[in-house]
Amino acid sequence: MLLQVNDLNISYKEVRAVHGVSFSIEEGELVSIIGANGAGKTSILNALIGLVPCGRQSSIFFSGKDITSLPSHERARKGIRIVPERARVFPRLTVYENLLTGIYGLRAKVDLKERLEWLYGFFPVLEERREQYSHTLSGGEQQQLAIARALISEPKVLLVDEISMGLMPLLVEKVFEILGDLNRKFGITILIVEQNALASLRISNRAYVLEAGRIVMKGNASMLIQDKRIREAYLGI
């Protein structure tokens, strides 16, 4: 098991956002957590990268090691990378500098030229806008930059937070296609949290359904996409 989350509880002051959520991801899988706005999806990802503290009984294991109390930057070193909600690129760094932040502390280990070539193949616009400040990019370009910033370090698992939010439908399709390719062709393990259930279920192996901070359903994506309740609640069919 690459990532194993046990009994995850997350509270903000008095309010509990996530109640005893457990899930796991195998190496090479593409897994989705789908749920409505406010179901606690982003909280779960933030707990995985160590930006939000989790409750006492909770534990997170990565490659068999307990990382529950590890600070954020050390989890990044271990190969957990995130594409944050709304991209959150560094606005006053250039596109190229944003990419370099992705391999902070790893420059000796990574073949930068080869990685850049590979990434520019997916996202040619990043090469064109190399020297531009990232706040001048469009929303879709910022999302591409955020994906590239996470991928440049050759992560063991890629966490993707609400990537469809604020993107044009056409771009949503393209971004999910790229995520699917990254998983199938390059074997990158991916965890997606999404409101856009249909788009993410289509490319996933497995999925969990999150409602009000609890997992209410799980299974193969191909099965869930046929499920009547899912179709009514999330697909609007």
Binding site: I49, H73, R81, I82, R92, L100, G105
Partner: protein, 288 residues
């Protein structure tokens, strides 16, 4: 003409020293969002340590080095034990503690070294420069050389090195910076080390240039440097440096050369009020 050039050079020296003090303040504000008033306290302590070491050893290099190291430690202590625990509160909480700390440091200097003015009475060991009729004294040359070196080194670190990239990333989004593997605490430590070491140099240079070290020497710089980071655009380090250089020249020329009947220290605050009225994001700020 001769007087004009001479006064401009004096102004540039004063401005360089302002810039050295303001640098630390701008760096700290950029990364923590804290108005680090106690920075001027570090500057005063640096001047005293420099004075003390110089009086004991007679070595200016020693004085500057010891001052830099001691002030770096002091800066990191303040950051770790005062600002960091207070960051979860609204910004006025660390601000109030910073003002209190500044007053405490002033009084501490008064207690240890006494209220009287100490004098360095030496010239910086730099050559005297002559262009036509204009003579630049060794101390002035030294101030230019030292501050230019510091600006260049800092510019190189922030724009050309991986550390600088991490510093800029952390100041723009600390959470995301840590999610790409940057240890934010370490970066903050480094910023306090750099800022405080530079403040120590500024304290010692002021001590030599004005030939006086006294407990309240940080008071005017404390508030002036606050005005300067507002004028430069909060969080913009280059803006703060340019504003500081301009202020030094403007103060010296308008009051010393043009004899405008204003208290010298008023100018910074007039500039701040003007900026707040007409360009609240600062001269070099990035949009409102």
């Amino acid at each position: 003409m001769y007087l004009f050039i001479e006064q401009s050079l004096n102004g540039l020296a004063v401005g360089s020293i302002y810039a050295l003090i303001t640098l630390g303040l701008a760096l700290v504000y950029g990364i923590l969002g804290v108005l680090h008033v106690a920075h001027a306290g570090i500057y005063t302590v640096g001047a005293y340590i420099g004075y003390g070491v110089y009086a004991c050893t007679g070595s200016l290099v020693m004085a500057i080095l010891v001052g830099m190291v001691a002030c770096s430690c002091l800066g990191v202590l303040i950051e770790r034990f005062i600002y960091f625990p207070l960051l979860k509160f609204p910004p006025y909480v660390p601000l109030i503690s910073s003002i209190a700390l500044f007053m405490g440091m002033e009084e501490f200097c008064r207690l240890v070294a006494g209220p009287s003015v100490r004098t360095f009475s030496l010239e910086l060991p730099f050559p005297e420069l002559k262009f036509l009729d204009i003579v630049i004294s060794p101390t002035l040359t030294g101030i230019f050389a030292i501050s230019a070196t510091i600006f260049l080194v800092l510019w190189f670190i922030t724009t050309k090195t991986e550390l600088g990239l991490a510093m800029r990333a952390t100041s723009q989004d600390m959470d995301i910076a840590s999610s790409v593997g940057i240890d934010g605490h370490r970066i903050i430590d480094i910023i306090f080390i750099l800022g405080s070491a530079i403040a120590a140099v500024a304290g010692i240079l002021v001590g030599i240039y004005y030939n006086e070290v006294y407990p309240a020497m940080g008071t005017v710089p404390a508030y002036k440097s606050l005005a300067l980071i507002v004028v430069g655009g909060l969080g913009s380090v280059q803006g703060a440096v340019i504003a500081a250089l301009l202020l030094g020249i403007a103060e010296t020329l308008l009051i010393g050369y043009a004899n405008i009947p204003l208290p010298r220290d008023a100018l910074a605050f007039i500039a701040m009020i003007a900026v707040l009225l007409w360009r609240p994001q600062g001269l070099f700020g990035k949009g409102a």
